[in-house]
C-alpha cells in the first residue's frame, strides 16, 4: 500500500498536506493501519454521522461532562467526541513510553534535589532564581523526605508530532493533570459505536488505570499499615473535573471525599463516617497546593483540611501528588528539561522538547522580538491555551499589541517555533478530513513508573486550528495502541 495514495471511498480526496498519522505516517506498510484505512474508506458518511450523534447523546445522558457555570446556572457540557480513533503503532508507543518514564524519573529526581541539597543549582545547570524565585517553588517542602522519593505520582506529558512525525514534548503536567477518565470512556464509546472498525484488532488495554493508581497510593502509604485507607480528595461537585474525580474514585474503589469530610487529630487524618472517625492513610488529591491546608497555605481556603500538611510531615499520611511539584512543570523550567534529564540520569532525552526560548533571558527576548511573526509566544503562568499568540495567524495589529505586552513583562513569556502538528482523520460535516491532534499520556509512579497505553488524544475540531483545548473548539478521540 502506498503512503501517498489513500484508499478511495470515503477517504477519496483526503488532504495529506500535513503529516497524517494514519494516511501518510512513518510505517506505510503496517498491515494494521492499512486495514483500518480500508475499513474507514468503506464506511458511509451518513451512518457515521448517526453513530456520532448517538455517542454524544449517550455521553450527555451518562453525565460524562464538565460543568460550566455562568451566573447561577450550571450547564453540563460534554467534551466533543470524535469517533474515529487515533492509532499508534507498537513501535511508536515504545518511544513514547520509554520517553515518558525517563522524563518522570528525571522530574522526581529534580524535585528531590531542589527540596534537599540543590546540587543542580550549585552546579549552575539552571539559574537559582528561576527555581527558588518561582511562584510554584514551596519553601515549606525543604528537607521533607517524601516516601520512595516520589513527588509526582501522576504525570501527564503533552506531546505533539512535527512535520516529520517526531514526537516532541510540549509541556509537563506534574500537579493535578486531568483527562484520564476520557481516555477510558472514549475507549468504551469507540468500541460501542464502531465495533466494525475495531473488530479483530489487538489493542493495549486501558482498563487497569484505577488499580495501578490505587497501588501507587498504597506504595506511598505509611509503613506498617496493613490495609491502607486510600481516598480521593476533590474540591466537590461544582468542580469542572468532578466527573473525573467520581470516575477515578470508582475505578480505585475508594471514597471520594471533600475537605469537610476529613479532620486531623494528633497529626493523623480521619474521615467522618456514620460510625465515627476512621483513619485515612493516603490521599489522591485533586485540589491545588494553595487550598490543601489553611494552616500552611491560603488561610481562606474552605476546600482543604486544617493540619493536613502537618500530618503529612509526620509521615502519617501520603499525599499524591506531593506539594510543590508545580515548579517542575513550569513553562520556564521546561526549557531546561533536556539538561535536567542529562544531569540526573546521564542519558540523552528520548523525547525532545520543542525548541524553546526564554524571554527572561536577553538573547531569548531579542530572538523572540525579531521573529514574532513566526513564533508561538506563551505566558508561562497560564494554561488552557489562553494569552498566547500564534505569529503566523496573527494580524499586524495583534502582533503590535502583543509586542507591547511582551516588552512590558518579558519574564512572563517563552517562545517556540510553530509546530505543524500531525493530523488524524476526523469526522466532519461533509467528509472525513484531517484535523490536528496532540497526546497526553498518563504515567503513574509508585515503586516504579507505569504508563497507561495511549493517552488522551485531543483534537482541534476547527479546520487548520492548532489549539486543541476544549475551551477553544477542541474535542477528543480514542487512542489505540496496537499490540
Amino acid at each position: 500500500m502506498s503512503s501517498e495514495a489513500p484508499t478511495g471511498g470515503l477517504l477519496e480526496g483526503y488532504d495529506c498536506t500535513a503529516f497524517c498519522e494514519l494516511m501518510n505516517g512513518l510505517e506505510p506498510d503496517n498491515p494494521d493501519l492499512a486495514l483500518i484505512r480500508e475499513r474507514l474508506s468503506r464506511m458511509d458518511l451518513a451512518e457515521l454521522g448517526r453513530r456520532a450523534a448517538t455517542a454524544e447523546a449517550e455521553l450527555y445522558n451518562l453525565g460524562i461532562t464538565f460543568t460550566v457555570y455562568s451566573d447561577r446556572n450550571a450547564i453540563d457540557r460534554i467534551l466533543p467526541f470524535d469517533l474515529i480513533p487515533r492509532v499508534l503503532t507498537a513501535r511508536e508507543w515504545d518511544i513514547i513510553e520509554r520517553g515518558v518514564v525517563q522524563r518522570v524519573t528525571a522530574i522526581n529526581a529534580f524535585l528531590w534535589d531542589i527540596y534537599h541539597d540543590q546540587k543542580i543549582l550549585a552546579d549552575g545547570i539552571l539559574p537559582r532564581a528561576l527555581v527558588v524565585g518561582n511562584s510554584n517553588f514551596r519553601p515549606e517542602m525543604m528537607g521533607l523526605d517524601v516516601p520512595l522519593g516520589v513527588y509526582v505520582h501522576v504525570n501527564g506529558t503533552d506531546i505533539v508530532r512535527d512535520g516529520e512525525g517526531r514526537f516532541l514534548v510540549l509541556e509537563d503536567n506534574a500537579r493535578t493533570p486531568s483527562g484520564v477518565s476520557y481516555v477510558i470512556e472514549n475507549r468504551h464509546m469507540t468500541l460501542r459505536v464502531l465495533p466494525d472498525l475495531a473488530s479483530g484488532f489487538r489493542l493495549r488495554g486501558v482498563e487497569d488505570y484505577g488499580v495501578r493508581l490505587r497501588q501507587a497510593l498504597v506504595d506511598a502509604s505509611p509503613a506498617g499499615v496493613l490495609d491502607p485507607q486510600v481516598v480521593l480528595l476533590s474540591p466537590g461537585i461544582y468542580n469542572s473535573a468532578y466527573f473525573e474525580h467520581v470516575f477515578l474514585a470508582r475505578e480505585m474503589g475508594v471514597p471520594l471525599v471533600e475537605g469537610r469530610d476529613l479532620i486531623v487529630e494528633n497529626r493523623r487524618v480521619y474521615m467522618r463516617t456514620i460510625a465515627g472517625l476512621r483513619p485515612v492513610h493516603a490521599i489522591y488529591r485533586r485540589l491545588n497546593d494553595d487550598f490543601l491546608d489553611p494552616d500552611v497555605f491560603r488561610p481562606d481556603s474552605q476546600l482543604g483540611v486544617r493540619g493536613l500538611i502537618d500530618a503529612w510531615r509526620a509521615g502519617n499520611v501520603a499525599i499524591a501528588n506531593a506539594v510543590g511539584t508545580g515548579v517542575a512543570d513550569d513553562k520556564a523550567i521546561y526549557a531546561y528539561m533536556p539538561r535536567i534529564i542529562r544531569y540526573y540520569l546521564d542519558q540523552d532525552p528520548i523525547l525532545h522538547n520543542v525548541d524553546t526560548r526564554i524571554c527572561a533571558e536577553p538573547d531569548g527576548l531579542q530572538y523572540t522580538l525579531d521573529h514574532l511573526a513566526e513564533l508561538v509566544v506563551k505566558p508561562v503562568g497560564e494554561s488552557g491555551g489562553y494569552g498566547l499568540i500564534i505569529g503566523p495567524h496573527a494580524s499586524k495589529s495583534e502582533l503590535a499589541e502583543f509586542r507591547a505586552k511582551l516588552l512590558a513583562d518579558p519574564a512572563n513569556y517563552i517562545s517556540q517555533p510553530v509546530i505543524s502538528l500531525s493530523t488524524c482523520p476526523t469526522l466532519c460535516e461533509t467528509a472525513i478530513e484531517p484535523r490536528h491532534v496532540d497526546l497526553r499520556p498518563f504515567a503513574v509512579t509508585g515503586r516504579s513508573t507505569w504508563v497507561l497505553p495511549g493517552g488522551l488524544s485531543r483534537v482541534a475540531l476547527r479546520r487548520n486550528s492548532l489549539v486543541v483545548n476544549s475551551s477553544q473548539g477542541g474535542g477528543s478521540k480514542d487512542t489505540w495502541v496496537l499490540a
Partner: protein
Amino acid sequence: MSAPNGSGGLANGSNGGGSGRYPDEMEPIRSSDLLSRYAESTVWLARYMERIENLARVLDVTETFVRTGTGRDGWASVVQINADDEPFRARHAVADAASVTEFYVLDTGHGNSIASIVNMARENARTLRPLISTEMWTHINVFHNWIRRLGPNDVRPSHLSALCARVKQECQTHYGITEGTFYRDQGWYFYMIGKYLERADQITRLVDIKYHTLLPEEAGIGSEVDVSQWSAVLRAAAGYHAFRRTMPRVLRPKDVAGFLLLNNAFPRSLALTLRQVYWAVGQLRTDYGLRRSGMILERLDELRASLLDQTIEQIIVRGLHEFLDWVQLELRQIQEGIASAFWPPPPELVLPEQAVDGGASTLAQSQGGMSQTMGSMTQTLGGMTQSLGGPRSSGNTQDQS
C-alpha cells in the same frame, strides 16, 4: 395480583416484622464505613424522589377531582397540604388549575415545585455518583433534563394528567433501578430510611388536610360528594382498590383515615412506612453495630406503639389533627436524631457557610489550577454556596415546611 387469601388482607404473608422480603440471615456487607456526607445525601435523594411522586399524585388526582366538578376548592387544598400558603400567595391571587400547576411543576423560585425538587434530587445524586450505580445517575440525569425543558404549554390542564403519569412513572423507574442496582450496604439502609420517612410524612399531610377540608360539617357525611372525594383521596395514594378489598361495603371518612394510617399491608400507610423505617434503622444497628441508632429506634418504637394502641375512632375522638401534628413532629425529630447520630455538623463549618461570598474566589482559584487539566473550563463561583450548604440546607428548609 396474587390469589386471594382467607383474611381478605393484601399480602398478609409479608407482615412479619421486617423479615420476609429481606432475608435477615444474609451476611451483612462488610465494606468501609459510609461517609457521613454520603449518608445524608442518600437520605435526601430518596426523600426528594418520593416527594416528587407524591406531588404528582396529588396534582393528578386534584385535576380529576376538579374537572369532574366535585371539589371547587380542590386546588387550594394542594397548597394547604404542602403548607405553602405564604409563598403561593406571594405569587398568585387565586388557586386554580393554572396557578397551582405552574407553582408546583415549573416554578423554580421556591423549593417545593417538581422542577426545584428534581434539581435538588439531582444535586444529591451528583454528590453520590461515586456510590450509586451509573444507571441510577443516568436516569435521574435524563429525568432532570426532561423536567428542565418543560414549558407552560406542557402543563396546561389538558396535558396535566399525562404529565403527572409520566412523572410518577419516572419516580417509580428510579426506585426500580435503585432496587435492582444499588449496592446493599449501609447506603441502602439510609436510602430506605429517607424514602419511608418521606412517605410517612406525605401520608399524614394528605389525611390531615383532606379530613378537615372534606369534613367541614356533619351534613356532608355519607353524601355522594363525600364518597367521591374520599375515593379520590384513596386514589391519590394508589389505595382505592386495596381499600375496597379490606372494606368492600363502606367508604366512610374514618375508614379511609384508618386505612391510610393504620393498615398493616398498604405500602403507603403510616403504619407500614414506620415499620420500614424501623427495619432499616435496626439493620444499621444489627448488621453494622451502629449503636448510635439506639435512640432513634426507641423513638420509633414509641411512635409505632401509639398507632397500635389506638383505633381510628379513638384517634378521631381525641383529635385527629392534633395527633397528625404530633406524628409530623415526631417524624422531624427522628430525622433530626438520624442527622445528629450519623452526620453531626463539623463545628468549624458552621460559620463559613455564611461567609460564602468571600470564599467564592477560593473556589475559582482552585479550579484555575485544575485547568492545567483539560484547559477547558470557564469557571465561576456560583457553586460554593451550594457546594457547602447545598443538599443539606435545602433539605432542612424542605423538612420544616
